[in-house]
Symmetry: C2
Subunit: 121 residues, 2 copies
Amino acid sequence: MDTNNALEGFGALAQDTRLAAFRLLVVAGPAGMPAGTIAERLATPANTLSTHLAILTRAGLASARREGRQIIYSADMAGARALIGYLVEDCCGGHPEACAPLLDAAVPDACCPPAPKEMRL
Amino acid sequence: MDTNNALEGFGALAQDTRLAAFRLLVVAGPAGMPAGTIAERLATPANTLSTHLAILTRAGLASARREGRQIIYSADMAGARALIGYLVEDCCGGHPEACAPLLDAAVPDACCPPAPKEMRL
DNA sequence: TCCATGATTCGAGAATTATCGAATTATCCA
DNA sequence: TGGATAATTCGATAATTCTCGAATCATGGA
């Protein structure tokens, strides 16, 4: 992850339709969602959405696979974490006290509660 | 954190000077850094940078305080975590297996190593 | 009060980004 | 092969955002 990747990533998320699409894909999980369904859910013309999905994909935040005559998109979690990691990269270098509240406390809680017993996949 | 806040936040980070400024402030920690110093470090005209700092501030990613005749900016960690939280908000709702790799594994590691013995401030 | 310093605001031109109609590509089925 | 469905690419217009010179505001010291 370098500056340009990060700019592409944040730029991808800085647009309402794309942000909504990404969050939709996050909820959809690994199964993903066909382009047409996303367009329908977001009430956006197919061609416009296609452009947005291409931008998310190029930014490393989504990936696409063909399945029959539809193209299934899914959120690229590794890409998302790389982006977040870049943002706080040198935070702990000399100042752990500054970023502890940021990630140690908030993010894990906001997402997965302290790791349930076990998890598949 | 609603959609508009999030768009403002990602938009703020989707520009090279602002992204660099934010990361500089993250490293600077709670002590922050005067506007002039940031401008110097980033080799950006003071007025241009001032505009960027205002955008980061409005987005909730930085805060400013006056100290004598200079204005000290610092990263707003709470704002940053809210933004990140929004991005993955419903991730674990029905699909914990999809986001576990994102935050459980990557982010805390990338930032603060499992909490050192003690920390001040 | 007057001057110097640090920072912000204003305004206009330049550059980038978003949108969507129309045309194109890919796949499946009869 | 022909038609239907799913999605993408092209191209032009509209809208937004970036940049920086010039002017303005705020503070501290002589």
